[in-house]
Structures are given as C-alpha cells and as structure tokens.
Symmetry: C2
Subunit: 332 residues, 2 copies
C-alpha cells in the first residue's frame, strides 16, 4: 500500500474516482469510512494535472460506465493495479491495455440483469396494453369526454423474439413464459441449454414474431442490426422493445417506420444519441420511453455498492476479487 501524507487517513488505502458515479453519490459516506477517496472531478485542476500531482501512488480506480478509462489515463498511473467499475458493460475501459499491464478489472456482473429484464417486461405490457397512453388520456381529462380509448393487445399468445440471449435475455424469456408467450432468439451462436427456437437471421426472426426485444450488447456486429429491413419484417402489428444500447437500432430507420405506420409500437429505454431523443417520438401515442433507467433501482444499486466495496476491500487485503471480469467477456 502507498504511504500517506495525511496523518488522520494514513490507514486508509487510496481510491481514485475521476468523475462521480451513481453508487458513489448514494453511498459516499461509506466510501470515506474505508478509503481515502481522491475526487478528481472536484479539483480545479485538469484531470492530467490532478493525476500527476495527487494520484501518483494510486493503485485502484473506481468508475461508472460513463467514465472512459483510456490508455492515456492508464499510462499516467504507474502503480495502477485494479479498475473497479459499477457497470456491467466494459466499453469505457481499454481492456487490452489493462490486460497488457496486468491490471485487474472488476464489474457488476449480472447484478443489474433482473432489473433490466423487469423493465423489458414492463415496456412490453405498457406498449401492448397502452398504459402510459391511458395515463396521459386520464390526466388530460379525456375519460368523461366520451372519447373512446383504443383497445390494447393481449400479452398472452404473443410470439416474442429476443435479440441476445445472455443473462438478461434468459430472464426476460422466463418471465414471458409465465404470460403464455412463445419465445425464440437470435444470438451469435445457438445455446444448447434452452428450449427456444434459434434464428441465425434477425430479419427472419422479425418476420416470424409479434414482438422483438433487444437486449444484446453493442458491438461492431450488433450496431444498427435493427434497421429498416428488420422493422418492415416485424410488420404493422409488430412491437419493438430496446433495453440494450441505443445504437443497436438505426434510429432514423425506426423513426421513419413509426411515421409511416410500418410497426405498431415501441418501448425504448435507450437511444442512439442520449440524452437526446428524436423529437418526432414525443407526440407519438404508440411510443413508451424511459431515460436509460432499466438497470436503475435502489435495491440494485445497493447490491452493486456491496460488490464495489467487496472488490476494493478484497484487492487491498490480497483476497480473491468478488467479480473479476472473466477473460472471455473481456475479449469479446
């Protein structure tokens, strides 16, 4: 452990945070009990100068998925041994550089998966049964006016195609089985362990299904995988849900298909240019939108907080990390 200047904090190991995170905002007090936290974002210095003057002895960085841990940052921290991220995604971390330098990376594993799956189901029901639209209808005082509120569509019996059958996709599938839906999926490869029909081709899956749920990760292979062709194959009664990443869908194509009535409705937790959402969606009744909150619950963040603390404590006491990034995921 690095030596400390401050007498009061000499026992506490240093953790560098470049930019505040959700977990840190919620549990800052707990962090201060166990670590000397170096808060780069509160310093008037530019990050590079802050690191140079304050963080040369840092062995551990804690970050969210919104803070890039680049090769540059890593090169400025000669003693860096671990990156702890509160995210499941690793797109913000230069994993190759970490591997090359022997820097461990821990992540949130599948902690958020249940919450994301729940949100996906919530969006499916909301779009099919027009819940947010109905809430708007009532708040606008339209119920007593005699305007007929349109009929929704039944969840049970729907054929649902899942794009990406990882942890989240499997949890979505299991929940939907309880509603009487028929599940199929598209994925890089067929999963031997599931009873669901596998499609190699997303267009074919879209044309065979009533609902598409996107919950794969964003890679060069999945970017814009949901395009005009897929949406038109899904069809005029089809519903699209996205709890993955915005850029998996070609948003221009989506807006066009919605304007032209080529699909029936969408539920979107993620967007291509967050926090900016295409304005055309704001007035559409068949669209339900949430601001990238599928993984956000108080209970989920408490679980992640415990993982983050557990990983940092394990690192500083030379114990096995709780959720190191497994090599196959890091190499994906």
């Amino acid at each position: 452990m690095p030596t400390q200047n401050n007498q009061q904090e000499k026992e506490l190991p240093q953790v560098l945070i470049l930019r505040t995170t959700f977990v840190f905002q919620l549990y800052e007090k707990e962090f201060h009990k166990k670590f000397k936290v170096l808060k780069a974002w509160e310093s008037p210095l530019p990050i590079e100068s802050f690191i140079e003057s304050e963080a040369q002895n840092v062995e551990a960085i804690f970050c969210s998925g919104l803070t890039p841990i680049t090769k540059d940052i890593i090169s400025q921290l000669p003693l860096l041994k671990i990156v702890v991220t509160e995210s499941t995604g690793l797109e913000h971390i230069d994993m190759g550089e970490c591997k090359r330098k022997g820097i461990a990376v821990t992540y949130a594993g599948s902690v958020y998966a249940e919450d994301v799956a729940d949100m996906a189901i919530g969006l499916v029901i909301d779009v099919l049964r027009k819940i947010s639209m109905a809430d708007r209808f009532i708040r606008n005082g339209l119920w007593p006016s005699g305007v007929q509120f349109p009929m929704g569509s039944k969840v049970g019996g729907k054929r649902v195609g899942i794009v990406g059958l990882g942890n989240i996709g499997l949890m979505i599938a299991r929940r939907l089985e309880g509603f009487g839906c028929t599940i199929s999926y598209n994925s890089r490869k067929k999963k031997g362990s599931t009873p669901y029909k596998f499609y190699t081709d997303v267009v074919e899956m879209a044309s065979d299904n009533d609902v598409l749920i996107v919950c794969c990760s964003l890679t060069e292979q999945t970017r814009h995988i949901i395009n005009n062709e897929v949406l038109r194959a899904l069809g005029k009664d089809g519903v699209l849900i996205n709890v993955g990443r915005g850029a998996i869908i070609n948003e221009d194509d989506l807006v066009e298909c919605l304007i032209e009535g080529e699909i029936a409705g969408v539920g979107l937790d993620v967007f291509e240019h967050e926090p900016n959402v295409p304005k055309q969606l704001f007035t559409m009744e068949n669209v339900v939108m949430t601001p990238h909150r599928a993984a956000f619950t108080k209970e989920g963040f408490f679980d992640v907080f415990q993982l983050v603390m557990g990983n940092l404590e394990a690192f500083f006491s030379d114990k096995p990390l709780l959720t190191p990034v497994p090599v196959p995921i890091a190499n994906e």
Copy 2:
C-alpha cells in the same frame, strides 16, 4: 322460436339488445348474419314502449355489464328465457329474479382473467419502475436538462398481498412468482390448494407487505375494504394496485394518504365514480391510471364474441350452454 313478420329474416331468431356493447360494436356484422337484432337504443321510443311494441316475442337478451337487467325489464318480457352478458361480473343482472323465473344467464367466465392479470403486473412494474413518469419526463424534454430522474424500486423480492384470490388473483400470483416476489392473500376463506400465506385480516396483510393488489369482486363485504387504516398499514414505501372495482377502495382515504405521503404509489384501473377521477391525482407523479381497461384487448373481445355467439346459438338450437353462470357464483 317466435314467428317473424319480416319475410327476409324469418329464419333468424330474435336477440334484444337494450344498449350497444363493446362486443356488438366490434362484431355487429356477425350478429346480423345469425340473428334478428332488436336495437332498443336506436329506437326513438322509450325502452318500455320499444319492448312493448317490438320485443314481446323475445326469448334472448344480450347485454354488457353496463346495462341493468332489472326485475322491471324482465317482467316486461314474458317469453324471456336467457340473458347473455359479455361481462364476467353479474352486478347488473337481477339474478334472483332470473332464478325465480327459470331464466338462464351466461357470462364471460374467466375469459378476461388473463388480460386483467397482465394489466395488474403492468401497473406493478409501471409504478415501481416509474415507467409512465419516465415517459412524461422524456416527452417534456427534461432528459437533456440535467434534472436527475429518480430511481425506481426493484420488483424482485417484493412481498405482494393479493386481495381476492380467484381466477385473476391466481394468475397474478403465478406471474409475480416469475419475478421473484413473495405472495400472500386475503380472501373470504383459506384456499387449500395454494402455497401462499393466508390472512383473514387485510390490515395485517397490508402491514406485512410491500404491494397490495386488489382484484376481488365488489360486494357489500368488500366495499371500502381498503381504507385509511389499511393504507397506513401498507405504509410509506407501500404500493397499491386496483384492477377490481373502484368502490373497493375508499377513494377519499386514498387521495388523503397520497397527499400526505402515507403510501408510496398507486396503479389504478378502476375508480369509485367512473369516468370521474379525483383531480388531485392528475398531477401526482407516483400515480398510474388507466380508464377501466384491464379486461380490454382485441384478442380478449374476440374470445368473448365467440362465447356470446356460442351461447346464443346453443340456446336457439337446444344445446348445452357454453358458459352458464354456475349457481354458487350467482348466489354470492
């Protein structure tokens, strides 16, 4: 079968409809293919005069849950032998009078139950995960403003108390098990066939649970069963869902508890004075409202249409009715 004056329609048996219904609006053409429909609501005559001049030979009435079939109406139809309602509820039919006169009653049975259960789950997820609120947040352009959208609460792990464990209640319970919720229930009597904890007392159940879902029928025993005491027992983190009937909740008590922050949120498909909703709810962020649409899906109404036609055809061809009201339900 009654004799008919109109030569063209002489083969078609008469069905009297006092006021149009959802199923009739959707499938009117199909009705005309098989029946001579007497549309009382389209006549300039008052109902009594219409019945006296046009419907004296009527053996079958078809109605929705919104058309009272009173003792008076029944007494004006000397040949009435069957009441076919598209509803599951029977509150609008004088069942005692039907029984006394040997008039059969058919209803929608459990056709709507799945859709109501789905809506209940949709409302649970929507309230806990703030979906409609999030949709409003985005449509109001608040996401890029930097205003922090509040965290939702996890569905999994919630203790859910179901008020009324009939068809709908059981379907709700099964769905919620898939989300990792713990189920208990209150009902007139303990059900031997379920693994769920039984409460005789709603206040006790409310204080032991995070979410209460009301899906019992409205009777003198259940009217205002959800009152101030129950809501305060449910508590400041508690969520209330109602897909039963509005008057099961004391709406004044509910509004008061919401204003005072005594409960965390509500999802309401039904209201005490429909289509009027307490205006105070219109501006509350923790309230999700739908205009009594839990049972309304295109697919569900098609199923009910088929039951209605099947019951009428069975009656006119002396075959067993598809969904006669069972005596225990009618006597409840």
